[in-house]
């Protein structure tokens, strides 16, 4: 099950450190309307989407699909820089037999784990993750790298993706 539009709006709003009231005021709607969007009871009006996406710092496509244009690794711009404590490392494993594993790990938790010597996550039993140096990934993230940092296709057809957002 993917993240719903409401969850996406809620996450992006919090990342921008906006309250529901602030967002509602900028869009000229009520705070209750924003609350309903975030709880997936209703959807924002189509005419509000461009403005909503602009406020949340994404494109309309990204807002609706949840897929950010991160085919390549990009460096975070200073004005869009998130608090490093809010960054999430998503490990996505899609196996050929149809199993899908999604693990969302906070970057600060991984940093703490690395300091403790825990560096070999293998969600879904994927062998591809065994040889990935998570420490290097966290170092890249600390330097501002965002997007799809790792994409591995195993010989068996399993696909592993590590994304930071």
């Amino acid at each position: 099950m993917d993240i719903t539009l409401g969850e996406r709006i809620s996450t992006l709003r919090r990342q921008k450190e906006l309250t529901q009231e602030n967002l509602a005021k900028e869009l000229n709607v009520s705070a209750q309307a924003v609350s309903k969007w975030e709880n997936d009871q209703t959807c924002p009006d189509i005419s509000l989407l461009p403005e909503l996406a602009r406020i949340l710092g994404v494109t309309v496509d990204e807002l609706l699909s949840g897929k950010t244009d991160m085919r390549e690794v990009r460096m975070a711009k200073p004005d869009e820089e998130k608090n490093p404590d809010d960054l999430i490392l998503r490990i996505i494993v899609d196996s050929t037999d149809g199993d899908k594993v999604r693990v969302n790990l906070p970057v600060p938790l991984i940093q703490a784990a690395i300091e403790l010597g825990i560096t070999h996550p293998k969600p879904g039993g994927s062998e591809a993750l065994k040889n990935i140096d998570i420490g290097r990934i966290v170092e890249l993230v600390r330097r501002g790298a965002r997007g799809n940092l790792v994409e591995v296709e195993e010989p068996g057809g399993d696909r592993v993706l590590i994304t930071v957002e």
């Binding site: 906070p106 703490a112 825990i118």
Partner: protein
């Protein structure tokens, strides 16, 4: 913490306070529970380290309520989800 397990004939939802899992007592018990498995991977967890991990997790959770830690969808329709 919310744990959902759903398959063709079962739909289990378990909801309990996250503080029952993420607390000092759990941090003290964690090494005894996990070290047997961790040692197979050449790692060892001490109580102090578990306390640090739990503190980090709690700090993150405070900022991101209802955060989805794990989601597994199997090919035969099973769905497992853990939210903190």
């Amino acid at each position: 913490m919310k744990i959902k397990v759903k398959d063709a004939d079962k739909n289990i939802k378990i909801i309990f306070p996250t503080c029952l899992v993420l607390n000092r007592l759990a941090a003290l018990a964690a090494p005894k529970i996990f070290n047997k498995k961790l040692k197979q991977h050449g790692m060892e967890l001490t109580s102090a380290q578990a306390v640090k991990l739990i503190k980090t997790l709690k700090r993150f959770r405070r900022r991101h309520k209802n955060w989805k830690l794990v989601e597994v969808n199997s090919a035969d329709g099973e769905h497992i989800e853990i939210r903190l």
